[in-house]
Subunit: 142 residues, 4 copies
């Protein structure tokens, strides 16, 4: 199971080095996870995080991030984010996410491993509802 | 002449008040102007700002911003930015931009007037190339 | 009544034009207002916005911003923010804020007028508590 | 050798979860490294990155980041960043950085390992000038 999302590089994303500020790849990766959640999967409806917060009182929080920066991106570049799940537990999911320059044979720009956990509004660990988990995990293969 | 662009609200855009951080509407408005420039207009090819910098040695800088905040937006909202040109001079363009919640009869969230100027890499005023100006201005009506 | 606050320009604040991204002056101005509130005034204790939210259930929200950009700032520059109150009403305060390069006779970089309002957690207008208002307003002169 | 730097949490740093947006710890860590560089060390003058770029044509870029998030921080919290060098090579330095809530016995909020490399303006690897390296490394112990 994987998901593709594209982001455009705007002025806000760049820094005085003329390239995308490295911390912003965490934002790009998060947008991709959010769109995956909203998009759903085959046979599984998507959902927004605001709905999950309002209706279930649950949030997804990030437990750890590890990102390697391979090549710089510049203003106006289109970046393709490829996301997949490396490990899915009861309360957390580990994503592997890669950012490519979205041109033919475009190089890998950055790659990351993002660990996400489900928590209550009081920030206590909570089980990921099966309907959400099924978006990211092909249950038969788990 | 006008242009419509949509942006999704992600975690990065919100603040602890539970709403979109007001400064981020300047980012949304800029994304819309950037996409307008890239998209072009009827009979006028679009162009990226990176191309303009690389090929013409020109940048667009913001001279002033004035934004009124009417209604808050929240995580996962889709925002529709409507942009138009209020005044187009030789070296600058004044944009009027409005952000609506993108649902039927969605309310106005924020409205702004953004003054942009064309400058050289040394940040000196420069004439806007006619081919770029034609993207934003219906020349016959000027 | 006025208040001085200084901010350093870091990589995160710059863009590919080699200068401070204009939207970030709104952040600098807000940091200055926040520090003014925390610092208090002669004979008036300061307070944090988190305390105001937790103890009084009140937030300050920004109603409008108008900023003129005069000169660019660069990485590592020190910026001095001078803030004063132009008008103080029962539910809102209008601030005038100026950003200077913090060197002898440093030029004016940006100037803004920021309208702030006091609201409840449900985002309804609320009277500014007199103890907070007194931080920003010399009551005898009002 | 180590360095302490403090940052205050402002509205811009928070998200709708009511806590500091995790990506912003990368900004806090970078501010700390920048201030360390500017501050210098015993017997070694500090320097700004803008000076290094202007005078030596060199930039520091981030090669990788790995951050664990332990406890959330909130609006108005004061965060203390403790930075040290884990490994210093000819072209790169690996920093270990920890963010603590800056109250007595304040908990660890986040900890990270940030790999930085020295590059030319064309983004090619370059040797770190010894005068800069000496800020971060007690040469006798290396």
């Amino acid at each position: 199971v994987s998901f593709t999302h594209r982001v455009r590089v705007y002025y806000e994303d760049t820094d005085t080095g003329g390239i995308v500020f490295y911390a912003n790849y965490l934002k790009f990766f998060e947008r991709a996870r959010t769109e995956w959640l909203r998009h759903g999967a085959q046979g599984v409806d998507g959902v927004s995080q605001q709905q999950i917060a309002d209706e279930l009182g649950l949030l997804f929080v990030v437990r750890s991030t590890a990102v390697q920066y391979h090549r710089p991106a510049r203003l106006d570049d289109l970046i393709r984010i490829e996301s997949s799940v490396e490990r899915a537990g009861r309360v957390g999911i580990d994503f592997v996410q890669q950012a490519f320059l979205d041109i033919p044979d475009g190089p890998l720009l950055a790659s990351g491993r993002i660990q996400v956990a489900c928590v209550t509004r009081a920030l206590r660990p909570a089980q990921i509802p099966p309907g959400l988990r099924a978006i990211f995990v092909d249950e038969e293969s788990v």
